[in-house]
């Protein structure tokens, strides 16, 4: 008979941020990590989550042009 992991995937997904943020106690953390060690689908879930965070940190969003121009004009004015 196949042994079931003690944490289900749905519970893993619900707790993933608490785990990543270091907000679980030692027992909860070891259950989550045990699940991750035997569940390739949840490993993929975490990989995608981490990839999304990498994309966000690398994303560049330039300031809107008019705001940028107004601020640079204010800097020039402040220098007299």
């Amino acid at each position: 008979m196949i042994m079931q992991p003690s944490v289900r995937c749905e519970e893993f997904v619900a707790d993933v941020t608490n785990w990543m943020e270091g907000a679980l106690d030692a027992d909860q953390r070891s259950l989550i990590e045990e699940h991750l060690s035997i569940c390739p689908d949840c490993v993929r879930y975490v990989d995608q989550l981490r990839a999304a965070l990498t994309v966000l940190r690398a994303a560049s969003e330039p300031a809107p042009g008019p705001l940028r121009d107004a601020l640079l004009a204010a800097l020039r004015e402040s220098r007299g």
């Binding site: 289900r8 941020t17 907000a23 999304a52 965070l53 994303a59 705001l67 800097l75």
Partner: protein
């Protein structure tokens, strides 16, 4: 991803040298800082105030406040933390003047939705709660992760989130501020911050999964 254990926040040294350049009136340094932070500042401010115009006013006033305060900025915090503290305080004050409901006054119904569609898990039987439709098995090459297209797509996903989630994920994951700084700045508990971050990250991951799948199929 963990927010603990970093001796110096990411980008802090570079910001410090930009502050020195700015103190000497270097316009290029100011332009770099404006480009680095203003889009996030607008999104955060917009969560507190009624219109895009009001959010732009708040961002502009914040930068002008920074220019005026540069000589007294003691660099006990990073420029980024100082900047976003000023921004949130100004946006909150403006929002109160407009009699707007604060974005963090209560966790909304949208905050209580699961981050993955429950239909993707087995509903009953021995394997209830395990994946029935698991995350896409397509991998994402590094160059694609860093592609401008992927960044724009995930930023667009953030812009569809409720304001409280937009603010938290923008400060934590776009700008890389740490958990304590963000809780203090927004005057929310760590637990509430984690709930908002969890919802927001879940939706951003789903957007990335959709992007990876669409690229594989095309």
């Amino acid at each position: 991803v963990a927010s603990q254990g970093e001796p110096r926040p990411e980008g802090a040294d570079e910001d410090a040298s930009l502050v020195r350049a700015l103190r000497s009136g270097d316009e290029g340094a100011f332009a770099t800082l404006i480009d680095r932070y203003s889009a996030t500042m607008l999104r955060v401010a917009r969560g507190y105030v009624a219109t895009q115009e009001a959010a732009e006013d708040v961002v502009q006033e914040t930068w002008l406040g920074v220019l005026r305060g540069l000589d007294t900025f003691e660099e006990r915090s990073t420029l980024k933390t100082w900047l976003f503290r000023i921004l949130v305080n100004r946006a909150r004050t403006r929002g109160e003047r407009e009699a707007r409901t604060r974005p963090f006054s209560a966790l909304s119904g949208a905050d209580a939705e699961p981050v993955v569609d429950p239909d993707r898990f087995e509903a009953s039987g021995r394997w209830a709660g395990f994946w029935s439709t698991p995350p896409s098995s397509h991998s994402m090459p590094e160059q694609r992760i860093l592609a401008r297209e992927a960044g724009a797509l995930l930023i667009a996903a953030i812009e569809h989130l409720p304001p409280s989630q937009q603010i938290v994920i923008s400060l934590r994951d776009v700008q890389g501020l740490d958990s304590n700084e963000v809780c203090e700045m927004l005057d929310i508990s760590e637990g509430n911050q984690r709930v908002l971050l969890h919802r927001a990250r879940g939706k951003v991951r789903a957007a990335l999964e959709g992007y990876i799948d669409a690229r594989e199929l095309s």
